[in-house]
C-alpha cells in the first residue's frame, strides 16, 4: 500500500493531491503527539481497528507502511543493513528489518518527520506469524502496553460464530480497557458507530473503483495503481471524513476515465491501449516499484485485479463495516483479511478474478522474505491454471530488500510469459 503518490506519477489528479496532503498532515500530527497528548497506537494493516482507535481520539501508526515507504524512497537498504548489524539474519522479513533499522537510525518517518513512541502496541494477529515477533521486538524497545488480539485462522474457509465471539470478547475484555487507560476517555459506542458508518461509505466507493477494471480499457491498474488507491483506507484514514472525501473524489475521477474511454496513468503516461489484462497475486516489490510497473506498462499489460490490495480488507467480496453491530463487524473484518484466508479461498479468489475481469493471464510475484504470502503459491498457480485454463507466470522478488530484485531476470520471465500468451492466441486464431 503506497500512500504518497503525488510526486511520483506524471499526471496529478485531485485525489492524488488530497492523498498527499492527508498523509503529510497525519505525520505532522504524529510528530506533535508527544506535546498534544494524542495517544499513539502502533498497529498493522491487516486487522487494523482504526475506527475504534479514532473513537478514543488516538492516532494510528502503521509500521509496515513506513517500511514500504522507506523502500520506495531508497532508504530500506541502509535500514536493513542496520538491522542486520543488530543481529537480525538475512532471512528475516525485510519489513521488520527495515522498521527496526529505521528505529535504530533515529526513527525519522517516510515524510521526514520524527515518529512518536507508541502508547500502545495493538496486534491483531491475522495470519502473519511475523507480526507477533515484530511487536515483541518493539515491546522490548519501548516497554509499553501491548494488546494481542488472537484472530482464528479461517482454516475451514469461514469465520465460525464461536470465532467471532472469541474476538469480540477480547475486544471487550482487553482492548477497550487498554484504550480507555491510555486515552483517559470512556468507550463511546455512538462515536465508534459514527466512524464505522464513514468507513462503510468509503468502502462503497473503493469497491466501485476496483470494479471499474471490468471495463475495456480498464481505467485503473488494480495493482500498481491499486496500491495507491488502497493507501488511505488501509492506513490511518478508514472511518474518517478525509477518507470519505478521498474515495468520493477518486471514484468520480475513475468514472470520468471510463466515460472518456481512458486507461490508467502509468509512469509513462496514459495506458489506453491494453494488450494484456492480468491478475496479480502477492505484494509488489517496493524498492524498484516504478521499474517493475514499467515492465508491465511497456508491454501494454494492465492489472485488472490483485489479491494484495485485499490484505487490508476484502471489501469487493462483499464485506462492509456495519455500524449496527460495532464489535461484531470489527471481528468479521479481522477474520476476513486476505492474509487470514486459507489456500482454497485464495485460489477461489484468483479464479473468480480471472473470470469476472476477463483476464488473459495471472502473475504470481513470490516474495522471498514473506512466507505468509509465498508458501504454497506454486500449488495455487497449478490449481488456478487447471480451473481456468489460463496460464500463470511466476516471478520472484522481495518487499523492500533491493538485493533481491533482479531486473533482467524478472523482465525476461515477464516478456516470455506475455509472448507465450501471444503464441497461444495465434494458435487459437489459426
Amino acid at each position: 500500500m503506497a500512500t504518497d503518490s503525488a510526486d511520483s506519477v506524471v499526471q496529478k489528479d485531485r485525489s492524488m493531491v488530497l492523498q498527499k496532503n492527508m498523509i503529510a498532515e497525519h505525520f505532522k500530527r504524529l510528530e506533535r503527539a508527544p506535546e498534544s497528548g494524542e495517544p499513539v497506537v502502533y498497529t498493522f494493516v491487516p486487522g487494523n481497528l482504526t475506527e475504534l482507535i479514532r473513537s478514543f481520539d488516538a492516532l494510528p501508526l502503521l509500521p509496515e507502511i513506513n517500511a514500504l515507504q522507506s523502500g520506495m524512497r531508497g532508504k530500506s537498504k541502509d535500514y536493513i543493513a542496520e538491522a542486520e548489524r543488530a543481529g537480525h539474519s538475512e532471512d528475516v522479513c525485510t519489513y521488520v528489518k527495515c522498521d527496526i533499522g529505521m528505529l535504530k537510525s533515529g526513527n525519522i518517518g517516510p515524510t521526514g518527520t520524527k515518529l512518536p513512541k507508541p502508547d500502545l502496541l495493538l496486534l491483531s494477529y491475522t495470519g502473519c506469524y511475523t507480526f507477533m515477533k515484530w511487536f515483541e521486538l518493539l515491546r522490548e524497545e519501548y516497554d509499553c502496553p501491548t494488546v494481542f488480539l488472537q484472530i482464528p485462522y479461517q482454516g475451514d474457509g469461514e469465520l465460525e460464530p464461536e470465532h467471532r465471539k472469541y474476538i469480540v470478547d477480547q475486544i471487550e475484555a482487553d482492548l477497550i480497557p487498554a484504550m480507555e487507560k491510555i486515552s483517559g476517555k470512556k468507550y463511546d459506542e455512538d462515536k465508534l458507530k459514527h466512524h464505522l458508518g464513514l468507513a462503510a461509505e468509503a468502502e462503497d466507493d473503493l469497491v466501485a473503483v476496483l470494479h471499474s477494471a471490468k471495463n475495456r480499457p480498464s481505467p485503473i491498474d488494480s495493482y500498481f495503481g491499486g496500491v495507491y488507491y488502497v493507501g488511505p483506507i488501509f492506513s490511518a484514514f478508514r472511518g474518517t471524513e478525509e477518507g470519505v472525501e478521498y474515495y468520493r473524489e477518486l471514484r468520480k475521477e475513475v468514472e470520468a476515465r471510463v466515460a472518456a474511454g481512458l486507461g490508467p496513468v502509468t509512469p509513462d503516461g496514459s495506458l489506453d491501449e491494453q494488450d494484456y489484462r492480468l491478475v496479480v497475486e502477492g505484494p509488489p516489490n517496493w524498492t524498484s516499484f516504478r521499474e517493475f510497473w514499467r515492465m508491465f506498462s511497456e508491454e501494454k499489460a494492465v492489472v485488472v485485479a490483485s489479491t494484495y490490495t485485499k490484505v487490508g480488507g476484502t471489501y469487493d467480496l462483499g464485506f462492509r463495516h456495519d455500524p449496527s453491530d460495532p464489535l461484531g463487524t470489527m471481528a468479521d473484518y479481522c477474520g476476513g483479511c486476505y492474509t487470514n484466508l486459507n489456500m482454497p479461498s485464495r485460489i477461489d479468489m484468483l479464479v473468480n478474478y480471472i473470470k469476472d475481469y476477463s483476464a488473459d493471464g495471472f502473475v504470481i510475484n513470490s516474495v522471498k522474505s514473506c512466507n505468509s504470502f509465498s508458501a504454497g503459491q506454486l500449488m495455487m498457480l497449478r490449481e488456478v491454471e487447471k480451473r481456468t485454463g489460463v496460464p500463470g507466470a511466476f516471478i520472484e522478488s522481495d518487499l523492500v530488500d533491493p538485493r533481491y530484485f533482479s531486473a533482467a531476470n524478472i523482465k525476461n520471465r515477464l516478456e516470455s510469459y506475455l509472448q507465450m500468451i501471444d503464441a497461444r492466441r495465434q494458435r487459437t486464431a489459426s
Binding site: 506454486l378 497449478r382 491454471e385 496460464p391 500463470g392 511466476f394 520472484e396 533481491y404 533482479s406 531476470n409 525476461n412 520471465r413 516478456e415 516470455s416 509472448q419 507465450m420 503464441a423 497461444r424 494458435r427 489459426s430
Partner: protein, 426 residues
C-alpha cells in the same frame, strides 16, 4: 535463395541458424559472445552463411568426388581462417611491443613472440590435417590461448622475457582480434582452401556455383540473454524460452518437456503438440547450477570445460556435493581433494548437483512428460546427460530423452522458425 535467420545471443556463445523456404536448415554458426554483442551476432551470422554455402557445395562435390574431398576442403577452409586470425594476433602483439615494452626488451620479446606464433601455426596445420584430431574448444581464443600459454612458459624465461609480460600481451591483443571484424567469410578463404587441397577442377566448379548463389534474407528473429542488445526492432525479438520450446519441437516433434541449461540460465519448459510453451520455470537470482558453474569448476581444476564430462564419466562412485552455491561448491571440491577423494568421483557429484537443481525447476514447471528434450551447451556434456537420465528415471520412470548433436542451436533454430512463420503468415 530465400532464407530466414535466427540468432541466439547467449551469455557464453552466440549462435545463428539459417532456414530455407521449406523450413530445412541451410546453415549454422557459432562464436563466443565476447564483450561485443553486435559483433558476436555478426560473426555467428557470417559463420552460418559459410556453412550454408558449404551445404550447397556438398551435393555437387559429393556426387562428383565423394565426401572425403569435401571434408578436406572444409578443414582447409577453417585452417585458413585460423591462420588469418593468428597472423592478425601476431601483428597486434608486435605493435603492442613497439608501444609498451622497454627498448632493451623489445627485440628479444619480438623474437620470442615470432617463434611462438610460428610453432602455433605449425601445430594448427598438424591438427587440421589429422584425420582424427584430439577434441578441443571451437573457439580461436581458447585454442590459440592454451598453446600460447604453454609456449610462453617454455620459452619466455630462457630468452629473458617474463611469462607475465608475454601473457599480458596476448590478453590485451586477443580482445582486439575478437572485437574487430576480420575478413573470415566464404569468399575470403575459399580460394586458399582450394589451393591447399590441390585445386581439383570438379570442386572448383562447385565452389564457383556455391559462391554465386545469392541468399535473400527475408526476415530475422533474435533471442537469448542478450537479445535486448541486438540491433533489431522489438517485433523481431523473441524470448529464448519460446524459441527453445519451438526449436526443440522442430527437432523432436513429440517433445512435451524441454530442459535448457545455458551459461547462466536454466529453464524448464513445457510445450504443447505445436511447440507452443504452456508453462516454464527458470532459475532466479543465482546462476548456480548453470553452465558457468561447470566453467568455474573447470577453472578450479585447471582443465578445459570440454574435459569435465569425460573425466566425470570415469568415476567409480558419486561424491555427494551439498552446496548449491558455485563458490561454496568450489570450496567443497578443494576440501574433498585434500581428503584424498578422486577428481572423477567429485566431478560426478558436481554434475549430479547441477542436475538436481534442474530437477527442482522441472518439478516446479509441471514435471517431466514424455518426450523429454535436453538443450543448451550443457547438453553436450556426457556426465550431465548421464546424471539427468538417472534422475529422470528415478523420479519419473521411463522417459524418452532426446538430445540432438546440434542442441546448442535449439534457440537459434526456434528464432529462425518464428521468422519463417511470421514471414509466411502461418
Amino acid at each position: 535463395m530465400r532464407c530466414y535467420v535466427g540468432i541466439d545471443l547467449g551469455s557464453t556463445t552466440t549462435k545463428a541458424v539459417i532456414l530455407g523456404d521449406d523450413g530445412g536448415i541451410l546453415g549454422r554458426g557459432i562464436t563466443n559472445s565476447r564483450s561485443n554483442y553486435d559483433l558476436a551476432a555478426k560473426v555467428a551470422r557470417e559463420e552460418a552463411f559459410i556453412t550454408a554455402r558449404f551445404g550447397l557445395l556438398r551435393q555437387e562435390v559429393e556426387a562428383a568426388a565423394g565426401t572425403e574431398l569435401l571434408e578436406r576442403l572444409l578443414k582447409a577452409f577453417r585452417m585458413s581462417q585460423t591462420l588469418a586470425q593468428l597472423e592478425r594476433t601476431h601483428e597486434l602483439i608486435a605493435a603492442e611491443v613497439e608501444h609498451t615494452v622497454a627498448e632493451r626488451l623489445r627485440k628479444s620479446t619480438l623474437a620470442v613472440v615470432e617463434d611462438m606464433i610460428r610453432v602455433i601455426a605449425d601445430e594448427e596445420v598438424i591438427w587440421f590435417e589429422d584425420p582424427d584430431p584430439p577434441a578441443r574448444s571451437d573457439f580461436f581464443r581458447d585454442t590459440a590461448g592454451s598453446a600460447y600459454m604453454r609456449l610462453a612458459e617454455e620459452r619466455g624465461d630462457p630468452a629473458g622475457v617474463s611469462f607475465d609480460l608475454l601473457v599480458g600481451l596476448y590478453d590485451k591483443c586477443i580482445i582486439k582480434v575478437e572485437n574487430e571484424p576480420l575478413e573470415l567469410g566464404f569468399s575470403d578463404h575459399i580460394d586458399a582452401a582450394l589451393a591447399r587441397i590441390g585445386d581439383p577442377l570438379v570442386v572448383r566448379e562447385a565452389v564457383e556455383k556455391a559462391a554465386g548463389t545469392e541468399f535473400d534474407e527475408v526476415s530475422c528473429v533474435g533471442t537469448g540473454y542478450g537479445r535486448a542488445r541486438l540491433p533489431f526492432p522489438k517485433e523481431q525479438i523473441r524470448s529464448e524460452i519460446l524459441c527453445h520450446g519451438l526449436g526443440a519441437h522442430a527437432m523432436f516433434p513429440d517433445t512435451r518437456t524441454v530442459l535448457d541449461i545455458g551459461g547462466q540460465d536454466t529453464k524448464a519448459i513445457q510445450v504443447d503438440g505445436h511447440g507452443i510453451v504452456t508453462s516454464f520455470q527458470m532459475n532466479d537470482r543465482c546462476a548456480a547450477g548453470c553452465g558457468r558453474y561447470l566453467g568455474y569448476i573447470a577453472d578450479e581444476m585447471n582443465i578445459g570445460l570440454h574435459e569435465l564430462g569425460p573425466l566425470a564419466q570415469k568415476s567409480t562412485r558419486t561424491v555427494k556435493i551439498n552446496s548449491t552455491c558455485t563458490v561454496f561448491a568450489g570450496a567443497e571440491l578443494r576440501e574433498r581433494l585434500s581428503l584424498g577423494e578422486k577428481r572423477e568421483n567429485i566431478l560426478a557429484g558436481l554434475h549430479r548437483a547441477i542436475i538436481l537443481r534442474a530437477m527442482s525447476l522441472l518439478a516446479r514447471s509441471g514435471g517431466i512428460d514424455d518426450e523429454f528434450t535436453f538443450t543448451g551447451g550443457v547438453a553436450r556434456n556426457p556426465a550431465a546427460v548421464k546424471a539427468l537420465r538417472d534422475l529422470t528415471e528415478e523420479n519419473y520412470g521411463d522417459r524418452t530423452l532426446n538430445i540432438s548433436a546440434d542442441s546448442i542451436y535449439t534457440g537459434a533454430l526456434g528464432g529462425a522458425l518464428f521468422a519463417r512463420r511470421e514471414a509466411q503468415g502461418s
